[in-house]
C-alpha cells in the first residue's frame, strides 16, 4: 500500500527501497537462460546518483528530459534519476519517425535527451539543426567517443552526491502532487503528436485506485512498449507493491513465458491473438487422440464457464422474462455445473493444465488494454482458465478508467469504472446525458453515446495547446474520450468503437467498423481487414490475406503481391466474409459487398499504431486510389 504522505513518484522509489530492500525490482535476460536482477535498494541508490548527475548537467526542477529507448533496465534507471531530481520524463520508443522525434524534442523544450544506442544518437545528431535547445545527449548503452554514457553520468553523480544531497532533498521536498510527472507524445490517429501532460497526482491516483492485488511473490513480464502510459503506470504499480518486472521482447516471449512463469502480465490484444494462434496450431499438429481430448476439454470448460457466468450474473444482457423463468434457468445451470464439475475438474487438471503450461503455467490473470479484445480470443482464454481482464483507458487518463474485476468479469465489456472515477454516457446528437439518469437510476443502461469521465487520473491538458485541451476537457473537469459506449445492466462499461471511426453510408446508415473487422479477422485466410464506405452506398473492405495459410495449400505463392492478383483467392475470401457476416446476423447494409487484396502487409508506424491499432486516416489516404477503383468495379455488381 502506498503511504498517504507520498506526493510524487519519487516517493515511490524511496518507499519501495525502504520496504522491499533486496528483493528484485527488475530483471533482464542475460545469456544461457540466466537473468540479472536489480534490487529495489540498488534502483533507488543508483537513481539518486543519476539524479545528481543530471543536476550537474544543469537540469532544473520541472525540465523535460527525453528518453528515446525501448524496454531495457537502463530505462527504469534513467526514469528513477529523472524523477528523483524533479525532472519530467518525456519518453518515446526507437520506432518513432524522425519528424515526430524532432517535433517532440522541440515542443517539449528538451535540453537533455537520453538515447538507447549509438543508432538513436546518430538520428538525434542528424536532426541537430532543428533542435537549438538540445544541449546534452546521454547514451544508455554502447559507447561513442565524446558522448556521455549513463554509467559515466552515474559515476559523476556518485562523486558529487555527498555535496549536493541536501539540494536534492530540498528539491524533492518542494515537489507537489500537481507538478508534472511526465509528458507523453502520442502520435494518435490524426495530425501532429499531442503532448499529454500527466501530473504526479494522476499517476499516484492510478496506483491507489487500480483494482489489482499483487504482492512480493508476483512476477510480471513486461512486453508492452515501455514508454506507453499503461506500461508506465503498471511499472510504477509493481514498484510500489514489491513485484518484480522481467523485461522481455516479442522475439523471446515464448521462452520467457516458460522461464519466468509470470503470475501477471499487462498486454495488448495482439499478444493474445498470437498466443491463441500458437496454441491452436500446437493442437492441430498433435495426434488425433490429443486433439479429441482438447476438444472435449473445451466443450466441458465452455459449458462450465457459461453456467457459472449465468449464476454469477456476469452476462452482458439482462435475462428477460418473469422471475420464475429466471430462477428456473438458474436451477438448470446449477444442475449442469454440478453434473459437469467432476469431469471439468479432471480435464482442467490434465488437458487444460498442459496447455496453460505453454503460457507459463502460473498466470493468475492478465490485463489487456490498448484495443478491443476480440470476443473469441476472450472466450478462448476464459475456457483455458486464464483470466484476461480487459481494461479501458487513454493516455489522457493515465490510463485506466475501467477494468474487469472479480465478480464483474462480464465478457464483451471492460468491467466497471474504477473507484473515485465518474463516468457518464452522452448522446452524440442531443448532448443529453443518457446515463446515469439521476431521476431514473434504473434506466439508461444499454443506451449508447460518447463516454465522458471525470476523476483524479484525467490529464492536466495538452502541452502548449490550450485550444485542443479545451475541446476535450470541460471547465468542470469532464473529459471527452471520443469513444462510443454504453453501460450494461450489471454496471460494466462496454466500448462500441471510436466515435470518429463510425462509417456513415450515403443512405444515412451508421456502421461501427471495429466489431465487424474483429469478427472478420477470425476468418482463416484473413490477416487484417479494413472496412471502408464513408459516404458510399455500401461497405467494401481492404484485406491483407494470411500468406501462411495460402502457402500451406499452394506452395507456389511467394508473396502477398502474388496473391493480390489472384482472382480465386479474392473470391474465396469474399465468400468467407459473406459467410461470417451472414452467420453473425449483421444487417444487410453492414455487409461487405466487394473486397480488394493488398499487396503488402500493414506495418507498425505506417498503417498501425504501436499497439497494432489501424490508423484509419492513414489507410484511407494511402489506399485512396485502390478504394476508388474498388467502388468503381463494385458499382457494376448489383448489390
Amino acid at each position: 500500500m502506498l503511504s498517504s504522505d507520498i506526493q510524487s513518484v519519487a516517493g515511490i522509489f524511496r518507499q519501495s527501497a525502504e520496504r522491499f530492500g533486496d528483493l528484485p525490482a527488475f530483471a533482464t535476460r542475460l545469456r544461457g537462460g540466466r537473468w540479472q536482477p536489480l534490487s529495489f535498494r540498488d534502483l533507488y541508490e543508483r537513481g539518486r546518483a543519476l539524479a545528481v548527475g543530471l543536476m550537474e548537467l544543469g537540469l532544473r526542477k520541472g525540465d523535460a528530459v527525453g528518453i528515446i529507448s525501448d524496454n531495457r533496465v537502463e530505462w527504469i534507471l534513467a526514469e528513477a534519476g529523472i524523477q528523483l531530481c524533479g525532472g519530467v520524463s518525456t519518453p518515446r520508443g526507437t520506432d518513432v519517425t524522425d519528424a515526430d522525434l524532432a517535433y517532440m524534442l522541440e515542443h517539449a523544450e528538451i535540453q537533455v535527451c537520453l538515447v538507447e544506442s549509438p543508432r538513436e544518437l546518430e538520428r538525434v545528431d542528424s536532426l541537430a539543426d532543428q533542435l537549438p535547445r538540445l544541449k546534452h545527449v546521454v547514451l544508455l548503452s554502447g559507447e561513442v567517443d565524446g558522448v556521455l554514457s549513463l554509467a559515466e553520468l552515474e559515476l559523476n553523480g556518485r562523486e558529487r552526491l555527498a555535496e549536493r544531497e541536501s539540494e536534492l532533498e530540498e528539491r524533492l521536498a518542494s515537489m507537489t502532487s500537481d507538478d508534472l510527472f511526465t509528458l507523453i507524445y502520442t502520435s494518435g490517429t490524426t495530425g501532429k503528436p499531442k503532448g499529454v501532460m500527466l501530473t504526479h497526482s494522476n499517476m499516484l491516483s492510478q496506483i491507489r485506485n487500480v483494482p489489482l492485488e499483487l504482492t512480493c511473490t508476483d512476477r510480471v513480464l513486461s512486453i508492452l512498449p515501455i514508454w506507453h502510459v499503461f506500461e508506465r503506470m503498471f511499472e510504477m504499480y509493481t514498484l510500489s507493491r514489491g513485484v518484480c518486472s522481467y523485461y522481455t521482447s516479442a522475439r523471446t516471449l515464448g521462452q520467457d513465458l516458460l522461464d519466468v512463469e509470470p503470475t501477471f502480465m499487462g498486454s495488448a490484444p495482439r499478444l493474445w491473438e498470437s498466443l491463441h494462434d500458437r496454441i491452436l496450431e500446437g493442437v492441430r499438429q498433435a495426434h488425433p487422440m490429443r486433439r479429441l481430448l482438447f476438444k472435449m476439454a473445451r466443450f466441458l470448460a465452455r459449458r462450465h464457464h457459461a453456467s457459472m457466468a449465468f449464476l454469477r450474473s456476469e452476462i452482458p444482457q439482462k435475462p428477460r422474462g418473469p422471475r420464475i423463468c429466471i430462477w428456473t434457468r438458474k436451477g438448470v445451470h446449477l444442475v449442469r455445473v454440478s453434473l459437469l464439475l467432476p469431469f471439468y475438474g479432471f480435464f482442467n487438471a490434465s488437458v487444460l493444465e498442459a496447455v496453460r503450461q505453454k503460457a507459463g503455467g502460473s498466470l493468475k490473470a492478465t490485463i489487456s488494454g490498448g484495443g478491443a479484445l476480440p470476443s473469441h480470443i476472450d472466450e478462448f482464454f476464459t475456457t483455458l482458465g486464464i483470466q484476461v481482464l480487459e481494461g479501458y483507458g487513454l493516455t489522457e487518463t493515465s490510463p485506466v478508467l475501467a477494468v474487469r474485476v472479480s465478480g464483474k468479469r462480464v465478457r464483451g465489456t471492460v468491467g466497471p469504472v474504477i473507484p473515485n472515477t465518474e463516468c457518464r454516457i452522452v448522446d452524440m446528437e442531443s448532448n443529453r446525458v443518457v446515463w446515469p439518469d439521476p431521476e431514473h437510476p434504473e434506466q439508461g443502461c444499454d443506451q449508447r453515446g460518447e463516454i465522458q469521465v471525470r476523476g483524479p487520473q484525467v490529464m492536466k491538458g495538452y502541452r502548449r495547446d490550450p485550444e485542443l485541451t479545451h475541446t476535450v476537457l470541460s471547465e468542470d473537469g469532464w473529459f471527452r474520450t471520443g469513444d462510443l459506449g454504453c453501460v450494461t445492466w450489471n454496471g460494466c462499461l462496454k466500448i462500441l468503437g471510436r466515435a470518429k471511426s463510425t462509417i456513415v453510408l450515403s443512405n444515412g446508415e451508421n456502421v461501427e467498423p471495429e466489431p465487424i473487422e474483429a469478427r472478420l479477422t477470425q476468418c482463416l485466410h484473413i490477416d487484417r481487414v479494413y472496412l471502408c464506405g464513408q459516404d458510399r452506398r455500401h461497405l467494401t473492405a481492404l484485406v491483407v490475406p494470411d500468406l501462411q495459410v495460402f502457402r500451406s495449400d499452394q506452395p507456389d505463392i511467394h508473396s502477398l503481391s502474388d496473391l493480390a492478383e489472384d482472382e480465386q483467392a479474392r473470391r474465396l475470401i469474399l465468400k468467407e466474409i459473406k459467410h461470417v457476416q451472414a452467420q453473425s446476423g449483421d444487417p444487410r447494409f453492414a455487409r461487405v459487398q466487394a473486397i480488394s487484396l493488398l499487396s503488402s502487409p500493414f506495418t507498425v508506424g505506417e498503417e498501425l499504431t504501436n499497439l497494432q491499432k489501424m490508423k484509419r486516416h492513414v489507410i484511407e489516404k494511402k489506399y485512396a486510389e485502390q478504394i476508388r477503383l474498388l467502388y468503381q468495379s463494385s458499382a457494376e455488381v448489383p448489390s
Binding site: 520496504r19 522491499f20 530492500g21 533486496d22 528483493l23 528484485p24 530483471a27 537462460g33 540466466r34 537473468w35 540479472q36 536482477p37 512480493c216 511473490t217 508476483d218 512476477r219 514489491g242 522481467y246 522461464d259 519466468v260 512463469e261 503470475t263 498433435a286 495426434h287 487422440m289 490429443r290 481430448l293 472435449m296 467432476p342 469431469f343 475438474g345 479432471f346 480435464f347 487438471a349 490434465s350 488437458v351 493444465e353 498442459a354 502460473s362
Partner: protein, 347 residues
C-alpha cells in the same frame, strides 16, 4: 451382516472393473519415467515419511478401527487390506489441486507401488491372524480359511504389468503417453462414478442393512489418514507443500489394486462379497472426503505455493545461490524455515 445371495458385482460390472483396472494402471505407468524412480532417492527423507504413514500408520489404523468397532472378520480383513494399499495416480491429481508438491506425490506413489509387493503380504500376515482365527471359530467344521499370500503376490504382479506397459509407451512416445494418461483418467472417472452409482442404487437394501460401524470405519480410515499424514509430516519438518502431498498420499489408497486382489484371489462368493462391499464403501467415501479435504488444503496453500514458486524461479534465473529476502513480517512463521525459501536446497 448377512449378504445372503446378493451378487455385489455382476459379470458385467466385473468386466468393467477389470478393464478399468488395466486402463488406470496403464495410465499410471504412462505418467512415469525412470527419472521418477531416481527422484525417489533424491527425496528419500520425505518419501520415508510417506512410507511410514502409508505402511506404518494406515494398516495399524485399519487394524485398530476393526477392533474398536468390532467389525465382522471379512469386513475387518478388507479394511486392513485397504489400509495396506499403495497410493495411486488419483492422489497425484488431488495433490495438484491442493497446491501440493506433485513431484513428491509421484515419487511416493512410485515407491509405495513397488514396496507394496513386499509390504502387503507382510502386513496382511501381521494384522489379520486374529480375524482369520475368528473365521475359523465361526466355520468350525467348514473348510479352513487362510490368507492366500502367494495369490495376492501374483495378482499384485499382474497389476504391475499394465504399469510397465504404460512406462514403455511413455519411453517410446511422450505425446501418446500423455494422451493415454488423460484418457485413462477420464475413463476411470466415468467407470468409478458409474459403478458407485449403480451399485448404490442396486444394493440400496444392503446400504440400509449395513451397520453404522462399517460406515464409520470406511469414512474414518481416509480422514484419519489425511490428518495423520498432514501432522506427522509437519512434526518431522516437512514444508507445507510437501505436507499437503503426504497428507493426500496417505489418505487416498489405490482402490483398483484392492479390487484386483479381491477378484483374483478370493473365488468364494461368501468370502469376497463382504470384502468387496467394504472396498466399495471406502471408494465411495474417499471420493467425497478427498474432494473436500483438497478444497480446504487448496485454500490454505495458495500463499505457500506462490512463495515457493517465486523462490524456485528466482534460483533458476538468478543462480542457485540467490536468496530471496522478503520484508520482515511478510512470511508467516509456518514457512519461514521452509527449505523452499532458500535456506537449503530442494530436498
Amino acid at each position: 451382516m448377512n449378504f445372503g445371495d446378493t451378487v455385489i458385482l455382476h459379470a458385467v460390472d466385473q468386466a468393467l472393473l477389470a478393464v478399468m483396472i488395466v486402463v488406470i494402471m496403464f495410465g499410471m505407468g504412462a505418467g512415469l519415467t525412470l527419472a521418477d524412480f531416481r527422484a525417489v532417492f533424491r527425496r528419500r527423507r520425505l518419501v520415508a515419511i510417506g512410507f511410514v504413514s502409508q505402511f506404518g500408520f494406515m494398516p495399524l489404523l485399519a487394524f485398530g478401527l476393526a477392533h474398536v468397532l468390532s467389525l465382522e472378520p471379512y469386513l475387518a480383513i478388507a479394511l486392513i487390506l485397504i489400509g495396506t494399499l499403495p497410493g495411486g495416480s488419483t492422489s497425484n491429481m488431488f495433490t495438484y489441486f491442493a497446491r501440493g508438491n506433485v513431484a513428491l506425490s509421484i515419487s511416493m506413489t512410485t515407491a509405495s507401488t513397488l514396496a507394496a509387493l513386499v509390504m502387503i503380504p507382510l502386513l496382511l500376515n501381521l494384522y489379520t491372524p486374529y480375524f482369520v482365527k475368528q473365521i475359523g471359530v465361526e466355520l468350525e467344521n467348514g473348510p479352513e480359511f487362510v490368507i492366500p499370500t502367494a495369490n495376492i503376490l501374483v495378482s499384485l504382479l499382474l497389476v504391475l504389468v499394465p504399469v510397465a506397459a504404460g512406462m514403455i509407451l511413455r519411453h517410446r512416445s511422450r505425446g501418446w503417453a500423455k494422451a493415454a494418461e488423460d484418457t485413462a483418467g477420464f475413463m476411470a472417472m466415468i467407470v468409478i462414478l458409474f459403478l458407485i452409482s449403480t451399485t448404490m442404487i442396486r444394493h440400496h437394501a444392503l446400504v440400509a442393512a449395513t451397520p453404522p460401524s462399517v460406515f464409520l470405519a470406511a469414512i474414518t480410515l481416509g480422514l484419519f489418514g489425511f490428518g495423520f499424514g498432514y501432522h506427522a509430516s509437519y512434526f518431522l519438518g516437512a514444508p507445507p507443500m510437501d505436507q499437503r502431498a503426504i497428507s493426500l498420499e496417505t489418505g487416498i489408497q489405490n482402490g483398483p489394486v484392492a479390487f484386483a486382489i479381491l477378484l483374483l484371489t478370493f473365488p468364494d462368493a461368501a468370502v469376497v462379497n463382504p470384502m468387496l462391499w467394504m472396498t466399495i464403501l471406502y471408494s465411495t467415501f474417499i471420493v467425497c472426503s478427498s474432494s473436500i479435504v483438497t478444497l480446504c488444503l487448496r485454500k490454505r496453500g495458495q500463499f505457500d505455493a506462490e512463495v515457493a514458486k517465486n523462490t524456485v524461479v528466482h534460483r533458476r534465473l538468478f543462480g542457485p545461490d540467490y536468496t530471496t529476502r522478503y520484508p520482515d513480517g511478510f512470511l508467516p512463521a509456518r514457512i519461514r524455515k521452509d527449505p523452499a525459501q532458500g535456506a537449503f536446497k530442494d530436498g
